[in-house]
């Protein structure tokens, strides 16, 4: 089977990923619920993962896909730790609104 990119074009993937990435950024800025912010970060990572795969196909090279595995591992680890932090904050504050976290400032 031929290279898929011949029919789609790498730039389209780049655009898609850029927009997806930007949506992630937007989510981070837009929401104050820690979990949603967190999800937005996952969106960002996914956008990059997708781009990795696209580039992998572009170069006809497996390394890009291998890297996605690592990236997934990282995402999983981050989620584990991040949610643990979220939970402990929720236990202490009863809220996960990041805008309530303003004790440290100045």
């Amino acid at each position: 089977m031929g290279n898929v990119l011949n029919q789609i074009g790498i730039e389209n993937y780049i655009f898609l990923c850029v927009i997806l990435f930007s949506i992630g950024v937007f989510g981070v800025l837009y929401r104050r619920n820690a979990i949603i912010v967190f999800m937005s970060i996952e969106i960002m990572l996914n956008a990059v993962n997708l781009l990795f795969v696209a580039f992998s196909t572009y170069h006809q090279d497996a390394q890009g896909q291998v890297f996605v595995f690592f990236s997934m591992a990282v995402a999983a680890a981050e989620v584990a730790v991040g949610l643990a932090i979220v939970v402990s904050i929720f236990r202490n504050l009863g809220s996960i609104d990041i805008d309530n976290l303003k004790n440290l400032k100045g």
Partner: protein
């Protein structure tokens, strides 16, 4: 490679010690084992090895920096025993996380492949997220962890994007190959975008303006020992990795890029120093001071081909002074609610040695001879002048002047104010760490060539 193996081995052993109920032995064992590792690391000095398909490449750069990281970790681990005395049940976790953090740090300076770099930086970051939030009942610690985590992941995303674009341009993650490919004429623009995104991610890690906002809050909220890790080890690790990335990938630094570095560097110095002036919390103050030092260290990038030695020197000077300072801060704020400067009142009378150590550390950071910080600054200045950035040097000079202002605030508190409380007994480890790190600082201050020449 051996270093990395040894370090992970130590980490795993720490966890096993817990199972074997040998908690008391963890810290001494780790220190000794790390000293051994230091030996292993140094034995690689002078050689260039690449391991496992170029995943790990050891050279003088990586060996020297790894050695520095190990030394710092030894100090930090040594201080753990006292710091975690109230939560002794978890000490193996804390220590092993620090050890793994070190593994990540070593990976970040000895990577030969961007995947190692990425994993290294993630190990480092995740360890720090954990350590920052580790006082789970302390709302400030929670907040610090959360802030660091959210912003750190955000930065990770950007770094990942950068790596992805580099891959897109080059089709490989291997530093060596990338470096060769950069010479070719048809270099896709993606590569530069990738480099820029990577740069931004690293700027975040070293807490350079305008990506610095997390640093003071996180430093303040984190448990003090974690702050010590962040302000000494993490900062120099990130800077070294940043440097290695740029040199390793042979990124042709354009004039505009240098301009960005210059602006960020000056902004970091200025913002860091000015903001530090009015801080009342010692940790927060050191956070801002760290931001300004990041600005200083960024100056090495302006003369990237020959400034590795200077960077190592500056990093060592800064980190050792930081360790010494934190040893004292840890003692002073042992049972305190906060780390406000008034806690230091009268330390000069009650604990003259510790006060002297802190004074020396601050003087080193301020850049006063005979301390290493002075020579570091000087080397930096002369190198930057050589590269033709007089403006940078003048900005740096003015910033050094401002910085004296807040360093002296602490010194004044120690020597001119009266202590409000009885002095408690000082565990010997604080003396040992403080005095030793300051002595090393002075020693490399007197013989800077020893350190500078490590990387030529």
């Amino acid at each position: 490679m051996n270093t990395l193996l040894a370090i992970t081995g130590i980490g795993v052993l720490c966890l096993l010690f817990e199972i074997a109920n040998l908690r008391k032995a963890i810290v001494p064992f780790t220190v000794v084992a790390l000293l051994g590792t230091l030996g292993i690391t140094l034995s690689d000095y002078g050689t260039v090895h690449s391991h496992y398909n170029n995943m790990i490449v050891t050279n003088n750069f990586s060996v020297s920096f790894s050695a520095l990281f190990i030394v710092l970790t030894i100090f930090l681990v040594a201080l753990s025993g006292d710091f975690y005395r109230k939560t002794e049940a978890k000490i193996s976790d804390f220590v092993s996380i620090k050890i793994f953090l070190l593994a990540g740090a070593v990976a970040m300076v000895s990577f030969g492949n961007l995947s190692m770099f990425f994993l290294g930086i993630e190990v480092l970051s995740i360890s720090l997220y954990i350590l920052a939030a580790s006082q789970r009942l302390n709302i400030r610690s929670n907040e610090a962890g959360m802030k660091y985590f959210l912003m750190g992941s955000f930065a990770s995303g950007i770094i990942l994007f950068g790596i992805c674009l580099i891959y897109g341009a080059m089709g490989t993650f291997d530093i060596q190959e990338i470096s060769e490919l950069t010479g070719s004429a048809e270099l896709p623009e993606w590569f530069f975008i990738g480099i820029v995104l990577l740069t931004i991610g690293m700027l975040f890690k070293i807490a350079a303006v305008p990506f610095h906002f997390w640093a003071p809050d996180v430093y303040e909220g984190s448990p003090t020992l974690t702050t010590a890790v962040m302000s000494t080890l993490t900062k120099v690790v990130a800077m070294a990795a940043f440097y290695k990335l740029l040199t390793g990938m042979n990124a042709n630094i354009s004039y505009e890029y240098e301009m960005v570095i210059m602006v960020v560097s000056i902004a970091s110095m200025t913002v860091g120093n000015i903001m530090a002036l009015r801080q009342t919390n010692a940790k927060r103050m050191l956070a801002f001071s760290g931001i300004s030092h990041a600005g200083f260290m960024l100056m090495t990038l302006l003369n990237i081909t020959s400034s590795a030695g200077t960077l190592l020197y500056y990093a060592s000077a800064y980190a050792l002074a930081g360790i010494a300072a934190f040893a004292v801060i840890l003692y002073v704020c042992r049972d305190k609610e906060n780390e406000d400067i008034y806690n230091f009142n009268g330390l000069g009378k009650t604990r003259p040695v510790l006060a002297a150590v802190l004074t020396a550390a601050l003087l080193s950071m301020a850049g006063i001879p005979i301390f290493a910080g002075f020579f570091a600054k000087f080397a930096l200045f002369s190198q930057t002048i050589k590269a033709g950035y007089l403006v940078m040097v003048i900005a740096a000079v003015i910033n050094s002047i401002i910085s004296v202002g807040y360093y002296f605030k602490l010194i004044l508190a120690m020597y001119t104010k009266d202590s409000t409380e009885e002095a408690t007994k000082v565990p010997v480890v604080f003396y040992a760490v403080g005095v030793l790190s300051i002595l090393i600082n002075i020693a490399i201050g007197l013989y800077p060539s020893f350190v500078i020449n490590l990387i030529k």
